[in-house]
Amino acid sequence: MPKRNSVIVLSSDEEQETPKTRSYSSTRTKPKPKASSSGSRGRKKARVSSSGPRLSKLHEINLFDDDFNEVFTRSKVFAGTQQNIAEELWVDKYKPHSLEELSVHKKKVEEVKTWFEERLKPSKGVYRNNVLVVSGQAGVGKSAAIHVIASHLGAMVCGWNTPTPVIWQEHLYNSGTATKYTSKLDEFVSFVERIRKYGLIPTSFTGESKPSVIFLIDDLPMMHSKAALGRLKDCLHLLVHTTQIPTAILVTDYGNTDSADYNARSVEELKISLERSGACKVTFNPITVNSIKKFFCVNPDQVHSLSLPTRTPHALKEKSNKPVELDDGSPLYFGRDETVSLFHALGKFLHNKRETGVAAEYDQNGFLMQEIFSRLPLKMDVPEKILSQSHVQPGPVADFLHENVLDFLNDEAVEDAWILSSYLGDSDILLAKLRGMLSSHNEAESILQSAAASIAVRGVLFGNSQPISSRWHAIRRPKLWQVQKESSYHKNEMFRQRIPACNQLSSYHMSVMATEYMPMFKLLGNRVGSAYNELDQESAQNLDMEDFDTDKMSLDGEAMEISDDDIEDW
């Protein structure tokens, strides 16, 4: 980005008479001082280099760039300061200003209000817990409620302004200047520490009478790991115990449906730990259609400027209904698309359901295929689409298909089995190509991967030319993984073995060890006693025993373990 910015600044400089560009450049440079500094450097360089004829060309490019940047800056500013946009978004314009306008349930609002009232009364120190956890789904009006209540009570809301996170690349860029990398979590922790110890800094209130203050923590930092979560928990726990200022912590729920999501789970965990340490909790229910309707009904005069004056609030609601897809009383869904589970997808591929009947067969106009290559049309989406919906890595897909596909073959169809396994081999080769590459070839990597997955899936679909009528099959977890693990274990075992066993000059290679020495050791067993020294013998025996035991045990165990539940946690 900084590069592009520099070009734009150059244009505004060269063209004094276009105020439009100028204003944009200024708005852009304001929020990002760093960009401006790099921009100025770029300007200098460009001045030196640009000559007559090139200038016009540059100018053209810049005009084009301006268009691009117009969009860019706008969105940027919207995300940031919201200063330069003449018309406010309706979301901001029609923000609730009084308690009645809130779409949150009255009772809840009342509850929160009384809680704050009690704590803002001068008789302090009675309440041990000064923290309120407000949870609810995104967009129910948690922060709006807090703001409105605060203004109702005449209190000031002080909050933690989420700092712009330092992106890793940015840090790398800065790393020369010896600034230390601080994550959002670090900053948050230090902030809470400050609040706990010193309260809010009094200089910020210039008035003679100290206004009551509500402290608001919106947007808890993200936790990626157990350690970070623990740290945040500790920090909040301390806050709950020691803070003197009424504090509201807003926690966004992500619906209970997908508890698999790590973030959602950790948020849950946080909430529980906060409650345990004594914070009050209020949950805002999801917004219902009625409350949306109510909102539009309450503010009919505010909506009157719509271009379609005949539209009733009800119709409006209908309209607002559509894009967010909300059913009566059901929560709004955000940010998740519908996914097919891996096993669903695998089932589709393995069962290989196809249209029956001759009519469907010769659809493809004019494209003649030999009979052995033609297949009935699939009774499913395009395989690649299913793959992408199931969000799996191609490697595991191939493994799963490989493990299970033979169960789905006709008993006579060895030929099919060969075609299948050949295609699986192809996809394996494609995936193996990746191995040598470094991560710099990201694009190529993803194309190769999806090609490999596609080949595996389509190979399975194509190869299974006479799919047997569907019956129930459990999908097994690839045994290959188990095998790989065990063989690497044995390898290490052998590795340790080979050091005492051939303490002679040479070291033997693994294959020699595996194919010649180990079987011999087994045959020699314990009768070799005198033949070579005790250490060798001991370890050889150990290995022998271990070898057999682990083999038997692990294989049996695996056989029993195979169940659908087990598959889930791979």
Binding site: A398, H402, L406, D407, L409, N410, D411, E412, A413, V414, E415, A417, W418, S421, S422, L424, G425, D428, I429, L431, A432, R435, G436, L438, K479, L480, V483, E486, S487, H490, K491, F495, I499, A501, C502, N503, Q504, L505, S506, S507, H509, M510, S511, V512, A514, T515, E516, Y517, M518, P519, M520, K522, L523, L524, R527, V528, A531, Y532, D547, D551
Partner: protein, 354 residues
């Protein structure tokens, strides 16, 4: 100590099997003009033995004082650093290692170790700068990149170190490396030579070894001297006064593979293929290299196969062996071969017997 190690010739003069090569190597060393060497030949032919004897010839008995080390390297590769671990066997004058154990990061190993060796050159008693010897095993298993970097380092540091490369097949070593080395082919010992060695060991151990029995061991060993000596020792443990008819127990994994082969011959169906897969997994768990599994399986199948199919089956075996090397999951390819075999064999059966 196993007989294999006990009766390994320690010096070039004592070498029994490849005496001519040993004498040539000796001449090279005495003339102080040792080039890089590339030893290649089948397993159990005596490559390692010759290399060890050669090292002893170069550096004296000191070369036998080796220590096993598990060494870790931190390699800087552009933006990231890679941690590598490898076991090395080293004396004051040489280092032996198998860089292909490091998988696809083998090239870093090759570069790093050679650079490191170049940094600390040993100085001999006369103050003359000597050189170290780096023994690399399984060069044919090195990746192409690693071989290229090996070539470069070889040229750059040839003043500081000598390379002794060791591999089974020189065809997988790039031309560039082969042309920079003195190639030494160590062929598999003939059965007579193996018998000779066995008789020698028998005499040293004070055993009565019937010549027929020795010949049988030699035949069973597939011209692999190491194997012959190992099975000789097992036979000795199992039953001493040797008889001509004494059973020579084969390797368990080989028996297992022949079992698989007969499974395949008996029935050709996806279900059977699945069972075969289970057995192949068993072999892989025990670290039998997939190439060897495939090779042995082909051998077993060919023994039972009709002559007119042999050619086709060999072709497919080669095809899948190649693909196995390209790929990562050997089982996919071995299984594909088995499936192909089943399909070919089944249609053959149907065609002949209806």
């Amino acid at each position: 100590m196993l007989w294999v190690d006990k009766y390994r010739p320690k010096t070039l003069d004592h070498v029994m099997v490849h005496n001519d090569i040993a004498q040539n190597l000796k001449k090279l060393v005495t003339e102080h003009d040792c080039p890089h060497l590339l030893f290649y030949g089948p397993s159990g032919a005596g490559k390692k033995t010759l290399i060890m004897a050669l090292l002893r010839q170069m550096f004296g008995p000191g070369a036998e004082k080796v220590k096993v080390e598990n060494r870790a390297w931190k390699v800087d590769a552009g933006s990231r650093s890679i941690d590598l671990e490898l076991t090395t066997l080293s004396s004051a004058n040489h280092i032996e290692m198998t860089p292909s154990d490091a998988g696809f990061q083998d090239r870093y190993i090759v570069q790093e170790i050679i650079k490191e060796m170049a940094k600390n050159r040993p100085i001999d008693t006369k103050g003359k700068k000597g050189f170290k010897v780096l023994v690399l095993n399984d060069v044919d298993k090195l990746s192409r990149e690693a071989q290229h970097s090996l070539r470069r380092t070889m040229e750059k540091y040839s003043a500081y170190c000598r390379l002794i490369l060791c591999c089974n097949s020189s065809s997988r070593v790039t031309e560039a490396i082969r042309s920079r080395c003195l190639n030494v082919r160590i062929n598999a010992p003939s059965q007579e030579q193996i018998v000779e060695v066995l008789q020698f060991i028998g005499k040293k151990e004070g055993l009565q070894l019937p010549p027929n029995f020795a010949a049988r061991i030699a035949e069973k060993s597939n011209r692999n001297l190491r194997r012959a000596i190992l099975s000789f020792e097992t036979c000795r443990v199992q039953q001493y006064p040797f008889t001509d008819k004494q059973t020579i127990s084969p390797m368990d994994w080989e028996e297992y593979i022949s079992e698989i082969a007969s499974d395949i011959m008996k029935e050709q169906s996806p279900k059977r293929l699945f069972q075969v897969r289970g057995k192949l997994y068993e072999l892989l768990i025990n670290c039998i290299p997939p190439e060897i599994i495939l090779k042995r399986l082909l051998y077993e199948l060919l023994r039972k196969l009709d002559a007119e199919l042999k050619h086709e089956i060999c072709h497919w075996a080669a095809y899948y062996e190649h693909r196995m090397r390209l790929g990562q999951k050997a089982i996919f390819h071995i299984e594909a071969f088995v499936a192909k075999f089943m399909s070919v064999y089944k249609s053959f059966l149907i065609a002949t017997f209806g």
